[in-house]
Point group: C2
Chain length 241, copies 2
Amino acid sequence: MGMEYQLFYWPSIQGRGEFVRLALEEAGVAYLDVARTKGGMENMLAALKADAHPSLAPPFLKAGDETIGQTANILLFLGARHGLAPRRAQGRLWAHQLQLTIADLVSEVHDTHHPVGIALYYEDQKKEAKRRAEEFIASRVPKFFGYFERMLTRPEHRGVYLLGARLSYVDLSMFQMIEGLRYAFPNAMARLEPGYPGLHKLHAHVAARANIARYLASPRRIPFNEEGIFRHYPELDEPAA
Amino acid sequence: MGMEYQLFYWPSIQGRGEFVRLALEEAGVAYLDVARTKGGMENMLAALKADAHPSLAPPFLKAGDETIGQTANILLFLGARHGLAPRRAQGRLWAHQLQLTIADLVSEVHDTHHPVGIALYYEDQKKEAKRRAEEFIASRVPKFFGYFERMLTRPEHRGVYLLGARLSYVDLSMFQMIEGLRYAFPNAMARLEPGYPGLHKLHAHVAARANIARYLASPRRIPFNEEGIFRHYPELDEPAA
């Protein structure tokens, strides 16, 4: 196919795979979103079993004879190869630390609609989801957003991105986090976002990047839906102001 | 102090810091467990605010002028410096992928006693915790343990450790996972463990390593308790066989 990369992820959701898609799109490299091709799901499920370095779950990425799993790990790999992370080891570790902090928040987003059990339906844990979502909005989003906003507004900080003037994969993930939370909790986000002008600006700058804007307008961008990580259940959001 | 490293973590629990402590102990390097020293807590809380690369939460590690946060990221750093990870980039990514998979399971362990809210007391979410713990024991532990056991028992695998004959930081973390689950869910683990002979053997080999055995017998090893990640609430375990 002449494709440099094969991405393996569930074909009908953004999910964790989207953090990888955004990096591949920004880098402008050719990749095949395997499970969205004919026979691709079988291919993906087989790779989960048979690969030399199999993943417990998607996403994973094939690059030549390497297979790399775990979202943050894939970004560590892609960031180094495509100028989406600092060159020096110290900067790379810092970028990765921020990415792992975003990953922690991603897990907490998922827990808002599945607090009691991953295997249970949302409908069977709605009451618990409501309690968890309330705490998430009241204290977890402010804790994480406050931290990232602080990184963007320290006196020594230059530029709109988390590491400074140059975009990194961390910014792409932060864009996706804001995008996803706006979808899932529109009322809460409308209230909260003005408190984080640095993050707001970062989001706008990422959205306006040529490769990202083109991607978001393309059919390759799967719309948010209620099967992914960011789900819009109006009853979990706060009331409109 | 002549200490090569300063570890910053809560002074009264094993928690996520323990995965770092085990790597430092195995490496046999001098480190200061800062928050366990006089005035150390104030020192840690100040560093969370003022450091050039602050963490959202402990653990974090100071090494010279670098500060590194996020457990898996700290292990990525220490693994490369102390022979606790493969030398080649591909092997390092694979080790890190396994570590991030263990980190996912660590989060799920925490959710067994705090499914509804991190800020709430366990006592206010006991019923939900029971539901979550049941699923955790019935399907999540077998899913993760099955995956790691498969890594240990593939035909091409050599040696008792996850990457083969040589110990890596991943094995230290897997040891801690098994140790913690035995503490939290003794009855369930007594039933489940015989199904994972490879993991059982890995655990025994790590426990018998000179530096680890010495550490476990020392006062530096904080006993498990009901403030950490692995908590023994008998009502969340299954009944004794």
